[in-house]
């Protein structure tokens, strides 16, 4: 039985491809919604990037050059919020939208209409954040963490930010429920949980983390809101509250959030490296367990962000050792990626370059994280540029590089065109070099004691800051290479074959290029190996 023999409501589904603006505004197609997510995220990446360049311009030399300190604080705050909630998270959700159904043999996302709401809530939230720059008092200036009591004071920009976070929360929770249900319920016969691609596993566990912690963030910013306007004292000791409580609740969300931005990257790299090493992923099962254990451990380490708040030594030790424990599953992953490449027949197309760059630089970021987890060391390094260096290695060279890897990798399947390999290689090497020139010196600045989130600094920090600022501008301009490559290739690129990568053998490469508007309308019968490798496919219907 199929839907066509159903009723009026059912019969016009899956047949028409809507045209014009309505296709995007009213979309229920996972590929269209995925495309919307990816372009939105790129726009936010540019906006957040411009703010970053504003920060780096100010820090090029000591003294105040361009901005008043208030605006500088607003720029650091909004840079963080826009990049985390506007660029990285939506980009991963967009990729999951595009690729998950293709990789597990589903006809679409489980809740296609809600999927569209998840996306269309993002532009309003972004708009609220941007509007906040122009309201009295300017945008939120308490840092992206919105620590009380900074956030319980200040102008209405903070209120707009709080409501923007509520909307972003609604969006990401719905998006996450969609991903979880799609993975759990819409896998094609034969695509079992312990065979499905690591990207599906990573998306599943990320989505679980989002559902678990975004409501906590919504709760804590609601407490900030009532402290601001309704006379409560959640974060005010005068009424029996405690500003440190804000940090506890925030980081209960915040640390899993780090993995929300890292696990999908692990998933992408676990698809790309086997393809270009032409070897199956080493230790697939251990990869699944490592990812799952990170999902559990990430709830038990939040106070490593708070070693300087005066918590008891036993608590410091607990959070220190628990944090170090996370290095074990992460180490398993890095080992597996390296072992996958070992004696592989490797080629170095752009996706592979970004994946290898990811493994190298993410490991550096992970190791500086282990250093920061040592409570005694962290007390020295808390709120210095060492922390800034650490999390930019994880988020730029980690999350962002993996996103570039993914976009280059799946670009042919999405668009039916090949990107320019020459420009892709240029983009990689350019980004790699300037990324390190930007962020590596920040380790030295932090060790020397330069605090973060200030527009001015002592003279001895000048040289490294100048280097970092030059690096940041060059890195930023380099992203125009990527933009040009994408736009040009979508229009004039060479037609892509069904399987442009010799070693690619997951399900999305078993269907036509570009992927048909409606794929797997009827689920295929599959025989699947580890990491979603398709051994045999029968049936499946597309149009």
């Amino acid at each position: 039985m199929n839907i066509a023999d159903g009723t009026q409501v059912a019969s016009h589904i899956q047949h028409d491809k809507p045209r014009g603006l309505a296709r995007w505004l009213f979309a229920t197609n996972h590929k269209d919604i995925g495309t919307l997510y990816l372009w939105f995220s790129f726009a936010m990446f540019i906006s957040g990037g411009v703010m970053a360049l504003g920060i780096r311009a100010e820090l090029f030399s000591p003294g105040l050059q361009f901005w008043q300190p208030e605006l500088f604080n607003q720029l650091t705050t909004l840079h963080g919020l826009v990049m985390v909630f506007g660029a990285i998270m939506p980009a991963f959700t967009g990729l999951a939208n595009w690729m998950l159904p293709l990789m597990i043999g589903a006809p679409d996302m489980a809740f296609a209409r809600m999927n569209n709401w998840s996306f269309w809530l993002l532009p309003p939230a972004a708009l609220l954040l941007m509007i906040s720059f122009w309201v009295p008092g300017g945008a939120a200036a308490a840092g992206w963490t919105l620590y009380a009591p900074l956030s319980t004071q200040g102008g209405m920009g903070t209120d707009l930010t709080i409501f923007a976070i509520h909307i972003l929360g609604v969006s990401s929770i719905m998006g996450a429920i969609n991903i979880v249900v799609t993975v759990l319920n819409l896998r094609a016969p034969g695509m079992t949980l312990m065979k499905m691609p690591m990207f599906a596993w990573a998306s599943l566990i990320t989505a679980y983390l989002i559902i678990a912690v975004m409501p906590v963030l919504a709760g804590v910013v609601t407490m900030v809101l009532t402290d601001r306007h309704f006379g409560t004292h959640f974060f005010n000791a005068a009424g029996g509250g405690d500003p440190v409580m804000y940090q506890h609740i925030f980081w209960f969300f915040g640390h899993p959030e780090v993995y929300i931005m890292a696990l999908p990257a692990f998933g992408i790299v676990s698809q790309v490296i086997p393809t270009f090493a032409r070897k199956p992923l080493f230790g697939y099962t251990s990869m699944v367990y490592a990812t799952s254990s990170i999902a559990i451990l990430s709830f038990m380490v939040w106070a490593h962000h708070m070693f300087t708040t005066g918590m008891p030594a036993t608590a410091q030790l607990f959070f220190m050792y628990a944090t170090m424990l996370i290095a074990v599953p992460t180490g398993v992953k890095v080992f597996n990626w390296v072992a996958t490449m070992w004696e592989g027949a490797m080629t170095f197309e752009t996706p592979m370059l970004f994946a290898i760059g990811f493994v190298m630089l993410f490991t550096i970021g992970g190791l500086s994280g282990v250093i920061l987890s040592v409570a005694a060391v962290d007390i020295q390094l808390q709120d210095t540029y060492y922390v800034v260096a650490h999390f930019h290695y994880v988020l730029v060279a980690g999350a962002l590089f993996s996103l570039f890897s993914a976009v280059y990798y799946w670009f042919p399947k999405m668009t039916g065109k090949m990107y320019s390999e020459k420009l892709g290689q240029l983009h990689f090497w350019w980004s790699l070099v300037w990324f390190n020139i930007t962020f590596f010196p920040m380790h030295f600045l932090g060790l020397a004691g330069m605090p973060r989130r200030i527009p001015d600094y002592a003279l001895q920090f000048t040289d490294f800051n100048a280097i970092a600022s030059v690096g940041a501008f060059m890195f930023g301009f380099g992203q125009l290479i990527f933009f040009y490559n994408m736009v040009r290739s979508i229009r004039h690129g060479q037609p892509a074959p069904q399987k442009p990568w010799e070693g690619a053998n997951t399900l999305e490469w078993a269907i036509a290029t570009p992927a048909p508007y409606h794929s797997f309308v009827v689920a295929p019968q599959l025989e699947v190996g580890d990491n979603g490798v398709i051994l045999e496919m029968k049936g499946g219907e597309h149009h």
């Binding site: 839907i3 159903g6 009723t7 009026q8 409501v9 059912a10 589904i13 309505a22 505004l25 009213f26 229920t28 006809p107 489980a110 809740f111 209409r113 569209n116 709401w117 996306f119 269309w120 809530l121 309003p124 939230a125 609220l128 209405m156 707009l160 709080i162 909307i167 609604v170 929770i173 996450a176 979880v180 249900v181 759990l184 319920n185 819409l186 559902i211 678990a212 912690v213 975004m214 906590v216 709760g219 804590v220 609601t222 809101l225 009532t226 306007h229 309704f230 006379g231 409560t232 004292h233 959640f234 000791a237 005068a238 009424g239 029996g240 409580m245 506890h248 609740i249 409606h518 309308v521």
Partner: protein, 294 residues
């Protein structure tokens, strides 16, 4: 949800080869506009700007329009038989995960209550802090603190709150009785059970409103009454909002029951509402113990 006619009703999810994907819909975009107006309006209203209430009101109106339209589409699709075993499974997973997200939302506030009572207050009352605030007494409910300017009385557990506990617990019972009616095809038991549940929900809300009135006017207990007042109103307030939403959902289901929707095997909308109601019920029990009683 209503089945695809009884003849095909037995098809299992594994046998089902196609999955329902809804046609393009304007409701998500309408909902996005609604939340934008609400977010903008709330922020402006809190800062005393004229645009605020206007935008907030418009946003709420648009949201109601969207919810009505969206659920109308869903009910039509359900009645038309678009949802079968596989879709039903998606709804079950989806509702379960949604309730999990709600659990975590309340967890943030229970965590705050725990932190304030077990960590923050004892610390504020310790020897070091005595030097700063000699008069501070870290008892619960917290009465004397520099931020609390009005005297208040705490809400006792064994008056109205105990009655409300009984009401909510029995509403869980009547709802289950209604569910049995649904499963056994006893439509009048179903309709009566559901109707009584809705009434109990409304009764709970009225008593809660009366309790707030009593607290504000006679006990002097407000949102600004320090650590006790803020956790009391925040937690019971968010719970009350959930009871309101749950009552509205059950009322819609009740109207659908009266119109002859649902069958013995196919009524997930009813079950989802019941899950939600039981979740709200459990939250209340925890509130009763930790907010009112202990």
């Amino acid at each position: 949800m209503q089945g695809h006619g009884t003849a095909a009703g037995e098809e299992s999810a594994a046998q089902q080869t196609r999955y329902f994907v809804p046609p393009p819909s304007r409701w998500p975009l309408v909902g996005a506009v609604a939340l934008f107006c609400i977010g903008l309006g709330a922020a402006f209203a809190l800062n005393g700007m004229l645009l605020g209430p206007l935008s907030l009101g418009a946003g709420v109106a648009i949201l109601v329009w969207m919810l009505v339209g969206w659920f109308r589409d869903v009910i039509r699709e359900s009645r038309a038989g678009s949802y079968r075993a596989r879709e039903d499974m998606s709804f079950r997973w989806g509702m379960g995960w949604f309730i999990f997200s709600e659990v975590m939302f309340f967890a943030a506030f229970f965590g705050a209550l725990y932190y304030v009572r077990v960590i923050a207050l004892p610390e504020l009352g310790d020897e070091t802090h005595k030097l700063l605030w000699p008069d501070f007494n870290p008892a619960w409910p917290l009465q004397t603190a520099p931020g609390i300017d009005a005297v208040y009385q705490a809400m006792g557990a064994w008056g109205l709150p105990a009655i409300n506990t009984a009401i909510l617990l029995s509403s869980g019972g009547t709802l289950t009785w209604a569910h049995w009616g649904m499963i056994e095809g006893k439509r009048s038991q179903l309709a009566w059970g559901l109707g009584i549940t809705v009434l109990l929900g409304m009764l709970f809300l009225s008593l809660q409103a009366y309790e707030y009135h009593h607290a504000l006017s006679e006990l002097g207990l407000s949102f600004a009454s320090g650590a006790y007042g803020m956790t009391f109103y925040m937690m019971t307030g968010f719970h009350g909002m959930h009871v309101l939403v749950g009552t509205l959902i059950l009322a819609v289901i009740w109207v659908r029951v009266l119109r002859g929707h649902f069958s013995e095997h196919n009524h997930f909308a009813f079950e989802a509402a019941a899950w939600y109601w039981h979740f709200v019920d459990v939250v209340w029990l925890l509130l009763f113990v930790f907010v009112y009683w202990l």
